[in-house]
Symmetry: D3
Subunit: 246 residues, 6 copies
Amino acid sequence: MRLLLINPNTSPSITELMAARAASLLGPEVALRTATGRFGGRYIASRAASAVAGHAALDAYAEHGEGCDAVLIACFGDPGLLALREMASVPVVGMAEASCHLACLAGRRFSIVTGGERWQVMLEEFVAALGLSARLASIRTVAPTGAEIAADPDRALASLASACRAAAEKDGAEAVILGGAGLAGLAERIAPEVPVPVICSLAAGLEATVAAARRATRKPAMGSFAPTPRVETVGLSTALASRFEG
Amino acid sequence: MRLLLINPNTSPSITELMAARAASLLGPEVALRTATGRFGGRYIASRAASAVAGHAALDAYAEHGEGCDAVLIACFGDPGLLALREMASVPVVGMAEASCHLACLAGRRFSIVTGGERWQVMLEEFVAALGLSARLASIRTVAPTGAEIAADPDRALASLASACRAAAEKDGAEAVILGGAGLAGLAERIAPEVPVPVICSLAAGLEATVAAARRATRKPAMGSFAPTPRVETVGLSTALASRFEG
Amino acid sequence: MRLLLINPNTSPSITELMAARAASLLGPEVALRTATGRFGGRYIASRAASAVAGHAALDAYAEHGEGCDAVLIACFGDPGLLALREMASVPVVGMAEASCHLACLAGRRFSIVTGGERWQVMLEEFVAALGLSARLASIRTVAPTGAEIAADPDRALASLASACRAAAEKDGAEAVILGGAGLAGLAERIAPEVPVPVICSLAAGLEATVAAARRATRKPAMGSFAPTPRVETVGLSTALASRFEG
Amino acid sequence: MRLLLINPNTSPSITELMAARAASLLGPEVALRTATGRFGGRYIASRAASAVAGHAALDAYAEHGEGCDAVLIACFGDPGLLALREMASVPVVGMAEASCHLACLAGRRFSIVTGGERWQVMLEEFVAALGLSARLASIRTVAPTGAEIAADPDRALASLASACRAAAEKDGAEAVILGGAGLAGLAERIAPEVPVPVICSLAAGLEATVAAARRATRKPAMGSFAPTPRVETVGLSTALASRFEG
Amino acid sequence: MRLLLINPNTSPSITELMAARAASLLGPEVALRTATGRFGGRYIASRAASAVAGHAALDAYAEHGEGCDAVLIACFGDPGLLALREMASVPVVGMAEASCHLACLAGRRFSIVTGGERWQVMLEEFVAALGLSARLASIRTVAPTGAEIAADPDRALASLASACRAAAEKDGAEAVILGGAGLAGLAERIAPEVPVPVICSLAAGLEATVAAARRATRKPAMGSFAPTPRVETVGLSTALASRFEG
Amino acid sequence: MRLLLINPNTSPSITELMAARAASLLGPEVALRTATGRFGGRYIASRAASAVAGHAALDAYAEHGEGCDAVLIACFGDPGLLALREMASVPVVGMAEASCHLACLAGRRFSIVTGGERWQVMLEEFVAALGLSARLASIRTVAPTGAEIAADPDRALASLASACRAAAEKDGAEAVILGGAGLAGLAERIAPEVPVPVICSLAAGLEATVAAARRATRKPAMGSFAPTPRVETVGLSTALASRFEG
């Protein structure tokens, strides 16, 4: 099974962090290819950086997607998710989308804990777009961005654990998602201090991607995820242009 | 990995049908135990039969759950799901709940096709309780019950396929769940005739159960899925009484 | 007029408490029969006990419902309500359902105050299933369960009154339901201390049951409350089996 | 028990029709006073006529409400309901509000059948304001207005019955409200032809008014139904001015 | 362009305040006519006063609306808005409705700050009726009514500014509406102290009224805003009666 | 007043069409600058093309936005709207967002008629993200895309008018938006055949942009539309990079 993990920001170090973490989570039958955004922000903590990253995710898929069995967009917030699900011929999984649906199986209401305060509103909108607002207990952000947490995770552990506990104890969360590429691997360190399940968004995303690849469902021939209609383009990479122009 | 599949109705033949189907879907690392309801309806196609089945599911778990790593309630509509998720020390999966969340990953809106018209309203309520009403395109029932379809699947195939197509073409479904124990295995026969993905609820349920067992998340210590508080009981099976009385 | 009050838990003392209270509320034209659950928890303060109680409510009706004009399920949370409404040939009222709709006539938003913290989430789900989430100001639980409050009501009065006042003053409730069989009769003692109407769930349930019996509406012949379709059963009481098997 | 029935339109003949119907529904312990709007439309079938009727309902209460134990606003759509509930010292019931909550106890989803097509959208808004949109199956209007139906009910019976049946058979209604002062008394004639309960809005309103009077709940001292704050007025009837000015 | 500003309360001083403010906001091409309610409360801070004001707004339009190109109902809460939109042959704008939709263009969630605590619930209902509850961050009221603020604005400035800041900082508002005729002109004084845009409801209403007049859209011939159906009336002003009777 | 109209697709002919139309709608005090996407699809009728266009809109603003007073994203569906609203120092208007809010002022429920069937689901999601789903009557698409309609508008007129009429007569729309850059100017030709107001999305967008520029509201200093936090980027145009990097 060949999976493509797309990091839609432009920090190879984050890609590597996730690749290392994935290696410890995936079985030997999975070959993981990774791709980092060619353009855009070093990390994504704004609406603008996220909008550019949606394009970057398509671009990365066009360049690296050939032959893969499923794709994971590995930025919590899933830039480009629905667009790539339309364009790709194989299943596309978003780390945040997969985590939210998984959390619904674990608890009546769930919270999201992540780094970077600008994600607060963006993630509220994201969850609302999934139709899951009634299942959301809260979103709690800690001050450092995901990138900063990745650079020095030990320093952020206490505040992340504290936010997770508060989500359970004050907000009524019955499951907590630790969201973000930069937080990959911290859930298991925090879990012992939190009275409800803590979900690692990277692990959830990888699990969903492996499952999707295994399922081998056919590409829809109808609806909003049917293949992208052909259209002439200008100014795109050759690979992406050819995805649009067929 | 040891899984327990609970058929909360009282028809061993349906349990066997599912066991056979499961055998073809599960890998060799999975040991599947099955249990059939000790009391209640031969099949479940009413609110009353479903209410009894909720108790029967708890009863079956109390009797057969020891040592299993995860449990699947294998009746589309998931009688007893939240109660058993509270009571059990291991993850509990519902066939309908798992299918609905999976369908959300495949399409913007999904439909459910099942047998037995009384399920129409009950499933609307079920989806609403998940908070997913905005993702539901339609529920379409065909006249025979799931039990009747299980007894003569070939006869029901055309009308099921027709309902699935109508869901996609008229109701805007971008994924269709073929729901019901009795319909296990039919999705792959129907899929070629339907322009959007068709999800087998048994396969979806098994996949989610295996994944849950593998995840080995801790039992919540807080919230509505924390262990059932101890309470004295009367009139229950010894095994179930002991689950309540600790 | 003959009414059946079903206490779906297995504590005859609670049944008697309610019978005594009912006697002071009902006119001489009402003959009240009571029934206590044959199996299940001594009180209901969990999802699991509630699921068993749904079956017990059906069982009690099958045994004792003959000839009654309406039925009240007298446990706040209404286990088995929709199932029994389907099965019974006469109107079935739930104490919580009746209270919530009554509260909507008294105030724009209402709160529920009850005993036993596990009811918090279960009642949120209950109100959501009624479609009334937008009318709910809050649910406040006090530490003792309803059974404990019934055993020593004086001790709980202050904390119940305090919760009711907080619902009005902090949560914006314009009416408060004092929910639970064990709290029957306390509303009138608490009302003078609360600036908005306080509704006793037993009184509300009885009132709705009498009204339903008087109305003598026909049993639906269509929809999800039409008579339970016949189905063969195993392991049920003779009376309940005969309700299913016709 | 003294009740005040306010007909907020200006047709005494409709008031008399309802008084006659009420006489056959109410017991001897109830003294019913009636009042007809002093100003406004002969019947209410528009937003503008309804707005004027809100004022007329307050005006009628100020003139005739002294000493009554509860008030019924007897126009389906309940003009002035929330305003009068605030102003009056006794409970105020709306025919439509009471009917909708009653219908929720009878079926999962309900429909409204009434006369006058302009009520379609106005009633959708009304039901939404109750928070009950998710419980509404449909609103079906027949061409004649309520006033025209009142003048020649036999002529309208067939089309009303047909609309009620369609609500059940096509829209999924599990209960149907026959709404409107002019339709009082027709429900029982139509019921035999409809497979689900048919609710007469006048009967539902009267029943709720009697129950409210009997309950004798205290007037809220807090919230949006606490007594209308004193304010100087101009141009109102002496009675209404004195309600505002205290 | 001729606009009619209707103050539906009966305080000419508030009308004059708004006229003066409007003069500084409108260009020379706009001729503004004003009208004050002929009957009802001196100010509107209750459900009852608001219901009377709905009639008064229709009455004022009937008397003064001839020849105007658009109408503004200049009381935050918009009494009579939908009724007058139906009745009038020209566009009708509500100060609150226009402000809320404008606020949605400025921020993801908005708050309303106004005078008079009784508006809290009434405005929650108003926003819900617009379908905008999900966009509402909070409603904060300060103790003095709008009329009192108008009489001594300097005294209220600090508490209004503080409420606006709290809306942004604690409630997550990304835009704040300063609602109320009596608060006209204060937004620009408060804005420098608030980290998100502050919208003056009078300015927003006037802007929308001018735009509506300029657009010159046709009167709907269908739907709930088509011309008010003719109906005989009694007890209304000659001008209003003639609007109803045609 | 200087406005920037961004056409986020890459067809200068559509930009010119809109510029010509805008010239006839805007007064002499408005200087309109236009920009066409530098990269992406010739027209936008898919999720993928829309995602790229979000980046292209930011790119165009970075290159051409200096000194403008407000920006209009002139593609119905508003790619990049929220991102650009965050990034830009001046107000940013979306053609679809402005049209939807405007439609809410004209009718209780509105419909959207546009070209290109793939917009159906995308626009449902768009309206849901605005929180306006309850106000949406329907979305109706005609077969030709907006680009094809722009190329030969006469040919599409009849089917567009027919869709608008159906929206009013069958779907209950009280206002209809004719959505899409390519349909600019057709509303006034179609309006006479439609019984409810028809809104031209370009006209609505321009009107809102002019109004926003005139209002000169301050840029938020807090919340999700506060200035984009600085972040290092790679691979972007110099102008866009400098917007991100400050």
